[in-house]
């Protein structure tokens, strides 16, 4: 591992690689996360997300490359300033909810008294005070996940790393979690979270990184990702599919609705890369095609994800995953 010049950003990874024997789980990955940013970590199963997060936390060591976490080359020395919620998480079954939060907060540096007070305050804030004395084994899955999340933030970390925080939560609890992430950001915290649920990333992330087969496929904002994607149109007309194709510049066309009584049809049109929607509209007018709706739509994060990570990303089967990986 080479030395990383100390970055001003809370998280900086430079050319990080992790190999397990002949298998490369993470390949030459570099990215930086700025202070106060919500940073999405997207990728299909086996992309190397969890491995990267574990390397950031110094739970496992990279084979090559360097990193800086909160100004330190190892998260061990700054782990009290980090809150980590792993993808596969659990609680001691016989421990009480409040004690669980306080225990992990103490492990991360709070005094016993402060940890207990904070645990009770958080449980009250999230309407869980009646379960404070309940054993974890008596909690529902959703409640247990809330307790785990509260245990992650109880010591008020500067950097939050959440691995698939939305998995297993019902829609109401997902909303609660979104609100909590926003609240943490308002408190000045830097947040990195990995997810499969594109809507959350789309709503929450300032920037995101798409990882597939251990390699970075994209890093930037949603607008930047959309700019690199082909334009998409929704067009309502009585013209035939063939007439529209004849105008040129169409990469893909699909009927969105069945023809109505007036024989009008709505099409979803994906233009060729670099094609200008306005030029397409001008050509249609010149060809005397009557258009009753012309709507320009940007690519969704889902489209971007499938486009960037879909080429073989999903094909990484469990059998090809590194034996040392729990999930990535």
């Amino acid at each position: 591992m080479t030395e990383n010049p100390v970055s001003q950003n809370p998280v900086s990874l430079q050319n990080i690689t992790k190999r397990y024997g002949g298998f490369t789980a993470v390949d030459d990955l570099s990215f930086e996360v700025a202070q106060g940013e919500i940073y999405g970590f997207l990728g299909p199963n086996g992309a190397g997300k969890t491995t990267t997060l574990r390397m950031m936390l110094d739970i496992i060591q990279p084979s090559a490359g360097s990193l800086s976490i909160l100004g330190s080359s190892s998260a061990i020395s700054v782990r009290r300033r980090i809150g980590y919620l792993p993808e596969e998480r659990g609680l001691y079954r016989k421990m009480k909810a409040a004690d669980s939060i306080a225990y992990f907060a103490q492990l991360r540096g709070l005094s016993r008294k402060a940890a207990k007070a904070k645990a009770m305050a958080l449980l009250e804030q999230f309407d869980l005070e009646e379960f404070a004395r309940s054993k974890n084994e008596a909690l529902s899955k959703g409640m247990a996940q809330k307790v785990q999340l509260l245990a992650t933030i109880a010591h008020e970390p500067e950097l939050l790393i959440l691995d698939e925080p939305f998995s297993g939560l019902d829609p109401i609890n997902q909303q609660t979690l979104e609100a909590l992430i926003r609240e943490q950001r308002r408190g000045g915290r830097t947040i990195i979270f990995s997810t499969h649920v594109m809507q959350h990333a789309e709503r929450l992330c300032d920037r995101f990184l798409i990882l597939a087969q251990g390699q970075k496929r994209f890093e930037g904002t949603l607008a930047e990702a959309r700019a690199g994607m082909a334009g998409r149109l929704h067009v309502r007309t009585n013209a035939s599919r063939e007439a529209l194709i004849a105008l040129g510049g169409i990469a893909h066309i699909r009927e969105e609705e069945a023809p109505s009584a007036g024989a009008e049809m709505t099409y979803e049109i994906e233009l060729e890369e670099g094609a200008d929607p306005q030029v397409f509209l001008a050509k249609a007018v010149a060809a005397r095609i009557v258009i009753s709706r012309f709507e320009q739509a940007g690519a969704t994060l889902h489209d971007i994800f499938v486009s960037l990570a879909g080429d073989g990303g999903e094909a990484v089967s469990d059998s090809k995953r590194a034996p040392h990986e729990a999930a990535a």
């Binding site: 061990i76 980090i82 919620l85 792993p86 998480r89 659990g90 001691y92 225990y103 992990f104 492990l107």
Partner: protein, 505 residues
Amino acid sequence: MKQILLIAWREYKQYIFSRGFLLFLTMFPLGLVFVGAAVGLLENNKPIRYFVVYDETGAYTDEIDQELDRRYMQSAIAAWDAYILVASGGAEVDIPAPFAPDDVNDARIVAFETAGGFEKAQSLAKANINSGLPSFVPPKRSFYRLPTPGDIQALGSLLEIEEAFRPYLLEQRLIGVPSGGGKPLFAAVLIPSGFGAGEDAAQAQYWSRNLTDQSLEMIIRSALNRALRRSVIADYGLPGEALDAVAAVDAPIASFRPDKAPEEAELGMKDRIETALPAGLTYMLLVIIFGVGNLLLTNTIEERSNKIVEILLSSVTANQLMMGKLLGIAAVGLTMPALFLSGGLALTLADAGSENVMAVAVTTLFSTNLIFVYLFYFFCAYLIFSMIFLAIGAVSNSLQDAQSYMGPVMLLVFAPLPFMVMVFQNPNGLVASILTWIPIYTPYAVMMRAASDPPLWEIVGATALMLAFTLFLMRIMGRIFRQAILQASPPKIRDVWRLTRKEKA
């Protein structure tokens, strides 16, 4: 360090403040009292077993009755001795022989009865120990001889008599007892007219449906032997009492140890305890290691299968987690003996100067360096085996996964058990030396030998070897723990050895 202690405290609290442990702590003394009471109750309520003797010779029935009385007095005097020991707390008491606790032999039985029996003994005990002592209740007789029923007595041949006894022995008929009513017949003894000591003599018959309880058969055999030996002695022209005189001979012999000054050299209870204590502690060590090893195993498997371990590892290093667990569970293992020891110590302090068994054991433990030796080797043995259990826990998702590793490990833990008796009997012999030099058994062997002055060079050398081995094992097992604990699926047995290699980044 704070994190290690936090983890250790959580581990400790989880077991020590669990309902199960607290219940055990409460139940243990109650259980002892219950078992003691139950044994006493069973003994007092043991049914009297009735038997008959059909003696064609008419010469042996009295002999059988005398033997029954002698055996009864033996057990009654033994019960008296136990009563005195309990009443005095094991300390020597000022009661004259034959009432003072001692060996129970024929001479003492005779002397006991001649000196006034239990009535006199009781009054002496009340006068010399405590006037408020509860009265001694002699045990009930186990066997009672009934006369042969008249209808059987009237029969002519032994074969007819055998047949006549069958319905009684099979409980198809009951036999009348002096207290009234009928009872099942436990056994019938038939002594034919030709019974004697010669080779051609007829044999006596013992009939009983109960084939497991042989105590009555032994008494009958002993009585008949005694009678026949007396007749053989008479053939030599000696009086019958000569046999009793011979039987009463008890060679006076005292044991001494050469490593003590002449005035302290005679072996007493303290010496016996001093010698036996290390063996007791060694067995305790074995039990604790097995117990806490299992705790460590199940606990690690829980953390692994419940996915708690990754949250822990984001807060502490794998080494801190490992050390915290080891420390916490070791404290759990030491709690039980510490509680018993504290109880013993409290009793000793409350009864200062007493010479009861517990007091002598506690004094021996604290007056020598034995307690430090015990603690040092406890931690060494604990480290060796707990690291193995910890590594097994780290490579197992369930107890079922762990089973495949546990078999050989259990074999390893308990392998020295059969040899421990040999070490105890010959603490400086070859077996003791061999076990001492096998690092995983060094703690057991040294503990067993602690009170018998083993060669210093051997102990120092073997201990150094053991410490080096312990460090090596900690490194290897630590690697397995660190590398396996986060794996989603447990590694196959053949892959485990790869985890023992130095971790690569």
